[in-house]
Every structure is written in structure tokens, then in C-alpha cells.
Symmetry: C5
């Protein structure tokens, strides 16, 4: 649940634009890395002093500033002041309960979205918020934690593979978004396999644990949907942008990204459709099991109850000496034998009846 | 239910624009407070005589007139007349069963929405209607009861914190709306936690009380949705306004408010999705319990019924003296022992059968 | 059901524009009343001869012609001819299975909608069709039966209360529509209370009668929805009208009416949401009851079946004289006492087991 | 099912525009009738030779050519060639699995829709495809089988009743469409009554046959919906047409038709809403029945099982001669009497318990 | 499941535009066939050397290049380079998890869709991705496997049947799309029949295997829907195209194709509606069965349990010699006879009770 509704109580009632970090309480020291490149040159370094960042702002090269750990509000504020970012946007960066969104300003673009992980131990989809600010030649990315999915991009920049070193900040942004959306497919694969396994098990082994798994699967789907749907608006927002921040040659890549997003959304909807019926399958399976249990009880009970009754009859102590009407069968020569015959016939009739009812 | 359909019978058939208070019957004496400020000055006072309000109308300072308790229709009428408010709008203010809405007139804006509380004792979301009229430099707020969520704003005005003392009535309006929407997040947090607890309990302890809780949760979600959805139109209405009442510099704050509203709506939909499946989970859990009960009954019954039958057989009183065919087993040396052996074998076969069926 | 699909077989295949009354078969003599007024004068009379109506058409005063009982097609035709109404519209007036709608013509407006009643004896929402024709200064209303919800309007005209005597036919129309929509709120109140009662009962007393009540409630909601939804189009149609029939000063009243309609629709949707889950609650409650029944059966049966088996054992007649192995317990000194001890232990074990399972 | 998916395998892979009849295999000899009229003249004849049709094409009179039976592809082709109809349209006429649609060409209009029947013996809604081609003054109608719903139109033309003889082909088309839509109301009436009966029965007699009826009802609703929904587009398509084929005076009639279509669709949706809950009502009713069965079993079993146990106790053969502790009750003076007292007390306690539980 | 979410992990993190085949791992040697024709000439050949393809690019004749097997990325790249296709499009061709889509470029059109098969052995709908590139006079089709549904087109080209040899590449494209959509109808037929069979069986034989079949049917419907829905956009995209690649005379054929697509979608929705209720029918049937089982158990148990109790009574060993109150019945002359009478009466009362309850 905590995935859905983050603790926002601490910000309620504050001055709008107050910079308060909303997220996990663990204090992570922010780590700032800078990758600066153009077609010929390439620098990569970790920065300790925030002022070291500022020269990159106006350099003609492409600069990617990555900040891991955003619980130090003053740091974010300094960066925001230098790059001339509105306070409300800085508040959005710190509020990790943000809905994915895209905002365009005169001098910069702001994008916030969710990086998703499939946590194998908790069998749950988890998320980390990533915010991007694109301002002149810089892409500034803010992440909640150390560790991300951008290594392929870093490799490509370092090794000058592909088009990336020949292009501007907009292509870098595309590359980063592409990395994030690629991981969505991995999560869908994981969930898909889980659903596949579940579906087979549901019919044959409807244990109560399955109920919990269905619940967690549904909650995963809701979470995924909430995280991914707004992406469509974000990317089509980028496509419709008219400021010079996005070059025309990048549009075909954004188009491709858009297609991928639609594909992800499509798959989520398909998986949702599959999971939505699971509970009914589960209930059906339990009903089936119950039915089977009931049949066994019914068969055993209905065969033996009449037989026990017959045995009970001849266990009565009516006094044969008083009258020859009192239980004369007890003195018949083949009385006992006869009772067995009657019992076997009764049992057989029952068995045949159940066979015809297809209960056995 | 009374949250959904207020008693409106008293107004039915009245002249349109009739000022009749629709709400709780408890008579609350209206309390009027005025906060008047500009960058340098600040006045705050409680007003007894309605005429004392009127000078504020045309002063250049920003004035916030807050009225707690609206069951005195004549008071509302006087204010309405002075500020030149249409009678239908005054009727809307008094009708606390109003749907949240936004209306723009030549000389003023009218906004009505719901302040929400989570009543911990009744475990229910409750609401109080707040109406705003923004006319020239004044914000007039009408509340059903004393007590609200605006204290942070009052503090900021008193202490000249943030931008508020430097801005006009439109920013004050934004601040008040922001306070209200902030509390929505708190309610979502409360509901989120409740749902989280419920979900875990549902599988393990499906008691009939849970049914009532699910019902109340659903009704909360419906109520919340009804109260919050129209907010989207209200705020985008404010954003689209062209009259001079809203300054351009306030638009970014309204945009932020709009994002928050979307986020609230999004979260409500997620919670709705989570609650919608709860009843099915509940039914599944009950079925599981029933299944377990049935299994115990079946196991005990199907093991002992045949055994009791066997015991019954040898309780019959067929006379062995009449014929050697009558119950010769009774006179066998190991008859009793043999019966026990047979019984134990029958019981073991049953137990093995149930083990293989996974019922034990 | 008859509320949903009226008998229309009689009109099938007729010439379009054929005037055939579709509705209850009871023949009601049409009753025509005229209220004619301007700011200073007021006339109210019942009219026997249809020709007496015609002078009102071109008088400068506002005229409200009300016709109760529309099964006399020739009467409707005469009125139609005089006021120059298209035959297809007259057919619509007579066809009481009409969907609420609004039509604008060069010289007149046609509105048809449903007046709703809550029939307390049949516990059902019922409807009566009302058609309005607004032509120059006249409002002509056609009702199926005597008796309506317009008395407050009549009072206001008679007593010159409110704005009505100072305004034109468009305000009269607004007033009539307002009366009708006001009654919708009353019905929602009634249904709301019924739902509230039901909800509490469902969990504790899921009797089969409740099933019927849920069904009737659902059917009420469907009927209400069908009758009210089209109203939105009607009123926004009136608002968008450009002919001179609606004065500008009336638009704010129509806006208010529109808000009320939205509010009614909103409430219907909320009530629908509440009723939609009722059947599931009902099924859950029955499952709970069943579970309780099963538990009692299981407890009694599983405690006594083994005990009865033990008693059965010692009711066997193995001959102790043949062998000392045959039922030696019968001759033990404390045999009987021992059996009781064993039985009580077995019973206690069972009880403890059930206590731990929380079945007792 | 065959109502939904017609056998189209035979056309798969053919040249587009190939004229192959898709429908029932029964070979019906096509029957061509022509009705030709203007205000003063009227001719009606059956035509054997297709060439006899051609003169009507350019006559100034209105001509209605009706073809019953369309499995003779060559005949359709000849007509198509003469009236200059595109091959793809001819293919559509022959393909009776067509979705209702409207197409406008330079020289003609093509409309295809479904004539619906309620087959009382199979208790199922059935359909026949009707195609219309309107070209200059001719309406050509193609029907699958002899027998239709157009007799009222024929009567009106023959007897010059109503406006029909004074109007053009567009009014004839309207008349034919009106006849078809009128029959939809008859079907809704039939289904409505069936649903009404079902609803009452479901609660009291939930037999397995009801399941089949619910299934067939649902399938009827789906079929009806699929056949009727596209009509809305067809008629609004006709209304929006700008070619001279539709006269302005006919628009009001099309408007009326459109209203009827909306009314049909509305009613279908209401009926769908009613049927959608039926299965749940059915399941609830079965649960109720089961509950009743279980209660009887529980009452009988829980009363008699303890009693039988007590009787079993005193059927044990412990030897009272060995010890005075062995079943001394057997030798008590009022032992037997006492046992009866105990038994009656046990039974009464049970009965009181069940009474309090409201099970009896 | 693997139908829904293809393994895309291998492409995650690659440079955008990387050509990696995503699909079945089986290595198929690509097979390239060329059909080149105009009204008078016709050539068909299999090509080994990719360079042999290039002359066709600029020839005035229509050329259809078909590539079966696309796991040789270098081959695709060569073709792409020669025909000047963007790398991202080539990536799309190789990624067989593509969502059906249509893209228009300056010099070519790209279409990707799914060819569907009904695999009778696995009783499952399966798909193969087909991509089309239309560039000047060439249609290039890429298929995953050898074997397709285009043979009718090949036949028509070879034999100059229909319009195809007289038309351009756009008509060829239409023909190929038409073939694919035709097969959708075949699949709907298959599924329709399967559903029809299922529906009848569900009520009478609700076996657990049916659950699996319902599941697979639902998954088929979801898969079908996902594959077919985007087609609508593709074809309406083609219709709206303004480049000269599509001739005006082809538009009517595209319109026809569009209608077929709508028809397919319509049918899928109808089938979905039919399947959606199946699980409820299944659960109802199981409940019915259970009810029947319970009734048999109840009847047998409630008849014999009281009888067994009576027999138990007279099996007690109270000593008649101690007191004349102890079981005097045992010494009555007609005691045994009387017990039988009592038992038969008890049994009859039960039977009559059950008959009246309609349980027998």
C-alpha cells in the first residue's frame, strides 16, 4: 500500500514551494557525477563541491549531471537557483510521491517518472522516482538512490558508440527515457511468467496462499498502470514541443519511444485482463474441491447409514420368548446370512445409483 | 448515506433564489472574522456588526472575510446585497448539499467545494462545505462550522512568511484551496492504511464484521470520489479565466494545484481498484474456511461411520444356537481381535486415501 | 418492467404522425386550464370548449395552458393545428413511452420529460410524461393524469410572489422545469433512506425477501437513470438556443437548473455504486450463515460419531466364554468406568481442537 | 452462436468484389416485385425478366423494386451493372453477415441493416438482412427471404394514404426504415415480458433450466445490440448527407427516426442492465436453497446423533456381575425412564438452541 | 502467456536501432521470392543473392518482394540500406513483439500486423508477424516463417485474374491485407463454434477441465483483441494518407477493408461478451451439482438417523427383571411389530416432507 500513498503529512500546510524531502527516511549522502562530452572530447567525474557544477551550464558541450540521493534539500535548492528553476518544480523533485508528468517552461523542460524494479524477494514491483531537467545543453537527473538503469548509456558515451556523441542533450534525454522504458518490458516479462504459473496452479491447487498472491498481483498491476499511463502524455508532450530544445532529427526517436510506451500500456491491459478473472477461477476451483469433498462424504454416509440401521434392528432385545412375533428372524436358520445379503444388495443399489450420477 | 443525499425536501417548491439553510439543524451563531493586509500592514479582528465589513470592499488592501456558521440566512443576504452577489449564488452557499463547482461572473468568482475530515471514531470520511467568493480585493469564505484547515495560511499572513503578504487576493485564494487539497492527502493516507490492514486480515480472518468494514470503505471511496472529481473542472476553470481577477504570476501555482488534484484523483482510483476486489477476496476466504470445516467433518464421519457399522453387525442378536450359520464369528477364538484388525485396516485405508487427496 | 418498455405494438406500422395515445388504457376526460397573466393582471379558468383557447395565442400576456389527460387525440390535434405544431411532435406528445428530449423549431420549442413519483405502497419509482410546447408567449403543458407538482408555481403566479409575474414565458418554463427537478431530489432522498436501511439489514438478516428488494432497487435505479440522464442534453440545449424565445436574463436560472440536474445525476450514480455491491454483500452474508450452520453440524457430528463408535464396540456380542481374548474389557472391574474416561477424553480433545480452530 | 459468426469461409481468399452468397443454403428462387407511383398513378407487378426493370430507372415516377431471395448472384450482378453499382457493394449485399452500415456514393446511397423477428418456438431473436440502394427515383431493396414488415407501406401506397404518394424516393426510404425500426419495439416488448417473468421466478424457483434461459437471454441482448447500435450512425449519416437525394422536408422525419433509434438503444441498455444481474440473483437463490437443505440436515443430525450415542451407551454389554461399577444404571429401578428423561432434555435443549438461532 | 509478452530482455539497453531478431530461436534460412508484373508481363523467381533484388527498385513494373524468415539481421540491414529505410524501422521489423502499427514517411510506408492461425492441436490462436514496406512500385513483405495466407493473391497475379495485373503496388498491398483479414474471420468461426459447444456443456457437465478451457478461451479473446484493434487505426491511417503512394481508385477498397475490420472487432466484442459470463455459468452449475449432492445426503441421513436411534433404544440392556419400568416394550407381544410400524411412519413423514419441499 505504501507504494500507492506516500506519507505526505509532513508537507501539508507548508508554504507552497517549501523544499521538504518526501520519501524513505534513510539518509543517503547525495552523490553528484558529471559526464560532459561532444563528438571529440569526453570528461567524467564525481563532484564534491556544488559550485564545480556551474561552469557546465554555459559550455557548448553536452553535460549530464546525475544526482543520486535527494534528501539534502539545500543542495537541490542551490542547483535550482543556479539553473534558474522555479521553487515549485524543486518541490516536485523532492516529493517522491509525484505522478509522472511533463512540464515545459520558457528556459527548461521538467520531466518526472518512475524507474521500476521487480523485487524478487518481496515478489513485488517497486519504484524509484527520477526527475529530469533539460536546460540549454544540460540534462540534470535526480534519483532517490544510488544505482540505476543508465549504464548502457554511460558505456555508449564513453566508447562513442552509436549516434550519441554526435548529438545534443535532447538525444541524451531520449536515451535515458529509452533505458527506463526498456526495463518496463523486463518487469512485464517477470509478471507475465508469474501469471502463467499462477494460472496453471489455480485450477489444480487452490490453496489460501494463492489468494494472497492474486492480491499482490492485482496490486502490482494497479501500481504499474498508475506509473506507466501518464508516460503517454509525457512523450506526446515532448513530441508536440515547439521550443528549440528538441531537434527535429530526434522526433523519429521520440515516435519510437511513444510506440514502446503504447506497447507497454497494451501489455499491462492484457495482463490486467488475465488477472481480473483469476479470483473467479480460484473460487470455481474451491467450489470444485468442496464438491469433491461433499461427494465422498455423501457416498460413505449414504451407503453405511442404512446398513448401520439394519444392524441396529437386529441388535434390539425384544424378547422372543414372550411372543413368536418378536424378532423371529433371530431364530431363522439363515437369518444372519440373509441380513448380509440384504445389506450387500442395499450397498450395491447405492453404488449403482452413484455410478449413474457420475459421482464415483 | 446521509453524506450522499442531504435533506433537500424543505427547499422543494420554493421560489428559486430563496435563502434557506440546508444542513445540520444545530443552530450555530455565525462568527465573522476579517483579516486585512498588504505588504506592510496587517489587521485581524472579529466582527459583530455586519456593517463593519463594508468598508473593506473598496480598500486597496487584500481582505479575507471568513464566516463560520451559515444558518442565519439574513446575514448571508446582507453580505450578498452589499457585495452585489446574485440571489441564486447565495442560495447555493446555503445549500450545503452543493456539488463542488466554479462559476465566473462579471464582477466576482464563486467557488464551492468540500473540506474533508477523517472521523476516527465513526471511521468515516466526513465533509464540510466551504464557499468562496472573490470580488475585487476580497476573498469571502463561508463555512458550515467553526474550525477549519486554514490556520497555516493565517500564520503565514500574521508572520509575513512566504510570498503571501506581497500578493493579491488571487494568491490568497490559491493558498486556501491548497490547504484544502493538502488535507485530501491526509485522508488518502488514513484510508490507505486501513485498506492495507484489511487486506491482510481478509485472507486470514474473514469475520462478518469485515463485511461491514468493506461496505463502509466502499461508501467512503464513493463519497471521496464524488467530492473530489469536480475539483478538476474548478481548477482548470480558474486557469482558463480571462478576467483580471487572477494574475499571471499565480497561474503556475494553479497549475501545481491542478497536478495535486490529478494526483488525488489518481490515488482515489487506485484505492477504488484495491477495494473493489475485497469482497471477492472475502467470499474466497469464507469458501476456504467452509472447505476446511467440511474436510474435518468428512474425515471424521467417513472414518467412523464404517467402523460403527462393523460394531453394529456384531451387536446383532442372531441366535447361534439355532444354526451354526448364525454369527459364528462370535464364537471364534480370535473373533474380537479379528474385528479390531479389520477396523484398523479400514481406518488406515481411509487415512491413506485422505492423505493422498491432500485433505489431511 | 412495464415501466421500461411500454406497449407500442398498436402504433407499429401506422402512418408516421398518426395520433394514437400510447399509455394506460383508463379513459380520462381531458381537463384544460388556462392561467393568463402579466405584471398587473391575472386570469385563471377551466376551459370546456377548445376554441376558447385560441385568443390567448396572440395576446401580449403570458399564457400557461395546461392539459391533464391526453388520450383524446382529436383534442391534441386541434390544438396542434391552431398553434401550427408538426404532426410528428403531436405523435410524440401522445406517445408516453417517449425518451426525454428537446427540439427546437422555427416558431416553437418542444420539451418532453418525466415527472417522477415514489409510490410508497408498491415501493417503486413511477413516472408520468409531461410535454411542453413554448410558442410566442404561451407555455402549453400536456400531462397524462390530473395532479402534478406545479402547485407552488400556481401559487406564486396567483400571489405575484417572486419574479414570475414580471417575466415572460421562458421564466415560466424554467419554473415548471425547476418544480419537476425538485421532486427528483425527494425521490433520491427516499431511495437513499431505503438503501441505508437495506445495507444494515443485509449483513445481519440475509432473508430471501431481501433479494427481491435488491432487485427492485436496482430496477428503480435503472429507471431513474434512464429518465434523468437525457435532461442534461435538454437543458444545455435550452442554454445554447439562439432564437429569441429565451431571454438573456433567464440564462442564469437555466445554468442553475443545469447544476441541479448534474447533482441529481451525480447522486444517482453514487446510489448505483452503493446498490451494485449489495448482491455481493448478500451472497457473502448467506455464505457466513451457511458456514455457521456447517460448524454446528461438524462440531456435534465429529464429537459424537467417535463416541457412538466406542459404545458400539462394547455392544458387540462376542462370546467371552469361548476365549479370554473375546472382549475381556467387559469383565474388567472398572471397564465401564474406563470407557467413560476414554469417551470424555476423546470429547475433550475434539472440543480443544475446535476451540483452537476458533469454531466454537 | 451462428447468429453472430456467419460462415464466411467460402469467401476467404476470393477476388474482392466476387459475388458469392453467404447465408442459409436453402435455394430460394428470387422474386422481383415493382411498385411504381406518383401522385396520380400507381402500378404494381411481379417481374420475371430482369430487363423489364430497366425502364424504371429513368422514369420520373418513384419506383420501389423489391427482390426477395438473393442467392442468385448473376441476377444481382445484372441489376448492379444496369444501375451502375460498384462490385464491392454487390458483394456486401450478398454477404448476409454484413454489419449494418451506410455508404454514400456520387450517384447512389447504400444502406444495409437487419430486420429482426422474435422466433417464439426457439425463443430467440432472429434476423434477416435487408439492403437498400437509392438511385435517382428508385429504391431497390434486397431481402434474404420472402416475407417482410413492409406491408403497411404497400397499403399506404396502394390506397394513397398519408403523404407517401405525394413524395419522392427519400420519403419511401424513410417509410421502409420506419417499418423496420417499429418491429424492434415489438421485440423489446417480447424480451421485456420474458425478463419480467424470469425475475419473479429466479428468486423462488432457481432450476437449472433457468440457467439456460438466462444464457439465451444474454445472447439475445448481445445480438440485438450488435444489430441496432450501428443504426445510429446510419441515420445520422443520412441526416448529414448533402447530395440532393434527400429532400429537406424529409429531414424532420429522419430526425424522428433517429429519436426512435436512440429510444431502442436506450431500452436495450436498460434490459441489458436488468439481465446482467440475473446470474447473481440465480446464484443467490441457489445459495438460499442450499442453506435451507443444510439446516434441515443439521437439525435432524444434531438432535439424533447425541441421542443415538446415549442409546449406544446402554447397549454395551459390560458385565454387571463382575463389579457393581459396571453399568449399575441398567439395574436401577427407573433407569430406563431416566434415560428417556435425559434424552428428551437433550433434544429440547437442541430445539431451543435452533429456535434462538432462527433455524427453525 | 508467451503470446502476450515476448522475451525482449535481449534488446534492453542496446543502442536504439540495433538490429536484433526477437522471436523463436529456431534458425530459419531466409527465403526471398520476387514477383514482378505489369499488365502484360509477369516474372516470379527465388533469389539467392541479395543484390539481385536491387534492379527492381526503380523498374516501372510492380514488384512484390517476399522475405520468409527474418532472423538474419544482416540481410534485413542490406535491404534497408538499399531501399533507404530508417534503422528504427528495421529494428521494428525484427522485433516480432511489435504492436500492429502504421507509419508514413516521405518515401515509404511501413505497416506491421499479425497473421493469425488457429492451432487445432493446442486449441489456441497463434500469430506470426508480417511487416510491409511500400516504396515506389515495390511491396516488400517480411514474414517470420515460411508459409502464409497469400496464395490466392499469387494465383491471381499469375493468372491475371481480377484487376490486380492492371493496378499498382497500392492495390497489391490492399490484396495482401485483405487476405490477412479474411483469415481473422476463419478464426472467429472456429472460436464461435468452440464457444457454442462450451455453452451447452457448461450447464450439464461442469467438469474442472471446463475451467481450463474457459481460461484458454478468455486468453484467446484477449490475444485476438490485442492483435486486431490497432488494425482500425492502420487502415484509417492508409485512407487519410495524402502522399501519392495510394491511388484514389484504391480508396473504395480500403473503405471495404475498414468495414471488414470493424466487423471483425464487432464480432470479437460479441464473443468476449459471451465468454465473460461463462465463469459465472460454470459456478452456477457447480452450485447446482453441489445442491443435488447435498439433497441426497440430507434425505438419506435424515430418514435413517432417527430410525437408527429407535433401533438403538431397544438395543439397550436395561434389566427388565429389576423393575417392570425397565423397557417393558421388550416383553410386549407386538413390541417388535410396533417398532417397525413406528419406524415406517417416521420414514413416511420424512418422505412426504421432502416431497413437499420438492427435494425428491
Amino acid at each position: 500500500m505504501s507504494r500507492f500513498i506516500k506519507k505526505v503529512s509532513k508537507t501539508a500546510g507548508l508554504i507552497p514551494g517549501s523544499l521538504v524531502y518526501v520519501g524513505d527516511k534513510t539518509q543517503i549522502k547525495s552523490k553528484i557525477t558529471v559526464i560532459d562530452y561532444d563528438q571529440d572530447n569526453f570528461t567524467e567525474k564525481t563532484i564534491e563541491n556544488i559550485e564545480d557544477l556551474f561552469p557546465f551550464k554555459d559550455s557548448p558541450t553536452v553535460t549530464w549531471i546525475n544526482i543520486d540521493g535527494i534528501n539534502d534539500a539545500s543542495l537541490i535548492e542551490k542547483i535550482g537557483n543556479h539553473f534558474n528553476i522555479h521553487h515549485l518544480i524543486l518541490e516536485d523533485i523532492l516529493n517522491t510521491a509525484q505522478r509522472p508528468k511533463f512540464e515545459e517552461f520558457d528556459n527548461f523542460i521538467f520531466i518526472v517518472l518512475k524507474m521500476l524494479y521487480y523485487n524478487k524477494t518481496e515478489e513485488e514491483v517497486q519504484s524509484e522516482q527520477v526527475s529530469f531537467i533539460i536546460v540549454s545543453n544540460c540534462v540534470i537527473s535526480f534519483q532517490e538512490k544510488v544505482g540505476d538503469v543508465f549504464d548502457p548509456i554511460r558505456e555508449r558515451i564513453r566508447n562513442a558508440k552509436g549516434r550519441i556523441r554526435k548529438t545534443k542533450a535532447d538525444y541524451l534525454l531520449y536515451g535515458l527515457l529509452d533505458c527506463i522504458i526498456d526495463t518496463y518490458f523486463l518487469i512485464l516479462e517477470n509478471l507475465g511468467e508469474k501469471i502463467e504459473l499462477m494460472e496453471e496452479d489455480l485450477v489444480t491447487k487452490p490453496t489460501p496462499e494463492k489468494l494472497k498472491q492474486i492480491q499482490s498481483l492485482k496490486s502490482d498491476m494497479i501500481f504499474l498502470r498508475k506509473s506507466v499511463w501518464p508516460l503517454r502524455e509525457i512523450i506526446s508532450g515532448l513530441e508536440r514541443m515547439e521550443s528549440g530544445l528538441i531537434n527535429e532529427s530526434t522526433f523519429i526517436y521520440l515516435r519510437d519511444l511513444y510506440d514502446h510506451t503504447i506497447q507497454v500500456i497494451d501489455s499491462i491491459e492484457s495482463l490486467r485482463d488475465m488477472t481480473s478473472g483469476m479470483l473467479d477461477i480460484y473460487i470455481s476451483s474451491i467450489s470444485n474441491k468442496m464438491n469433491e469433498v461433499m461427494k465422498v462424504l455423501t457416498i460413505i454416509a449414504t451407503i453405511f447409514i442404512p446398513l448401520t440401521f439394519i444392524a441396529g434392528i437386529y441388535g434390539m432385545n425384544f424378547n422372543p420368548e414372550v411372543s413368536r412375533f418378536n424378532m423371529p428372524e433371530l431364530n431363522w436358520r439363515y437369518g444372519y446370512f440373509g441380513v448380509w445379503v440384504v445389506m450387500i444388495i442395499v450397498a450395491l443399489v447405492m453404488v449403482i445409483y452413484f455410478k449413474r450420477k457420475k459421482w464415483m
